[in-house]
Symmetry: C2
Subunit: 202 residues, 2 copies
DNA sequence: TTGACAAAAGATAGTTCTATCTTTTATAAG
DNA sequence: CTTATAAAAGATAGAACTATCTTTTGTCAA
């Protein structure tokens, strides 16, 4: 019997990501993905139940890469101080965005395409919104108060500002600068913040 | 002869915005819009050349609201110091997002549907990306240097931080708080940054 | 009251896409 | 070499949607 090509599923995901990066997630169709991989359109369904599963596949693969970072273990550890987890979450997301400039963009694209609540993050910390979950947990536990929101903001600012300093001080070599433009940098930083579910519910 | 209902075009735009807010821009169809307004589907085409024109209509109406703010006049004035224009741009966008929590989200959604460069902003300052255009113009003119990027960052931070202070100091009444969650606030602030065209070009 | 005409509704052609079902192809095992 | 079987391709049903063309409705002006 024919042996299954185990790399094919990854190739399909790769092609989907390519389309997202070039044309946005709204432009994805099974026909286009199949054509890019060089297989029949129906073949997609041997590897993914439906189109939703394909998008989930892309999302989960990117999330998995995030989880492999050692910092994420601290974030997921409920015994650690909530503020440290907040800081670590933001910082690791930011560092990740430097090493994987497309990754968070892809995640954002799929989040934008998803109606209602994003299911994808639920397995991360048992909530749809990790940073909010951490924050609310902190408030509930009496560790955080309203004033601590300022702390969170400060963390975000300082993390981004650190990169700006690196730029100034020539820490990066010419070919090594993660972001060439201000908007690139800010956007990557912005991408760390989960989707504003609250804005959607009317 | 029958008189044209001049409010109908606005009603169509309103319905489109409603759909974007609830289900995202990918969910827009002329059928759904027409049903929401309570008219025939073909009727949409009496007011808009095609679907693209409908989306443009939504986008341009939101942009027009932005331009009505007095701060925008400073941004658009080429005689003003480039740094002041940068600051004013960011600040006015932020203030606008506080008063119109859905507006920037709608803009972002339509940008998502547009492949490649967004044409919509070109009439604003003669570029696809106002903040980058301002920034690059400043560098070209010798007014800005790399180090000035830090200034821009600082401006962004301080603008957001001001809101955080407002929260702390009880400037807002209970029912008046523009954002209830951190992610809401940051996301709105992030939306002020134009789309990362640079990330898309491979 | 009637004719003119724009607005609105209705019908539909044509396209695109998802997902399933059928047929063909390739290969491992006997 | 043959057979079994999974993978791949091909075909297509069915849904949804855009955009256009035709018919009906409503209303202003003579």
């Amino acid at each position: 019997m024919k042996k299954k090509d185990l790399t094919k599923k990854q190739k399909i995901l790769d092609a989907t990501v390519e389309i997202i990066i070039r044309d946005g997630s709204a432009a994805i169709s099974t026909t286009k993905v199949a054509k890019k991989v060089g297989i029949s359109q129906s073949n997609i369904y041997l590897y993914f139940k439906d189109k939703r599963a394909l998008l989930d596949g892309v999302y989960l693969r990117e999330i998995a890469r995030l989880e492999q970072t050692p910092e994420m273990k601290i974030v997921l550890n409920p015994d650690e101080d909530i503020r440290i987890r907040c800081f670590t979450y933001l910082k690791s997301m930011y560092d990740f965005s430097l090493q994987n400039p497309h990754s968070l963009y892809v995640l954002e694209q799929i989040k934008l395409l998803s109606k209602g609540a994003p299911d994808y993050l639920s397995h991360l910390v048992g909530s749809n919104n990790p940073i909010e979950e951490l924050f609310n947990a902190g408030i509930k536990a009496g560790v955080l108060r309203k004033i601590d929101r300022r702390l969170t903001m400060t963390v975000i600012f300082s993390v981004i500002e650190k990169h700006t300093e690196n730029l100034q001080n020539g820490v990066y070599t010419e070919s090594d600068v993660p972001f060439e433009t201000v908007s690139q940098m800010i956007w990557a930083a912005l991408a760390i913040v989960p989707y504003p579910k609250d804005l959607l519910s009317k």
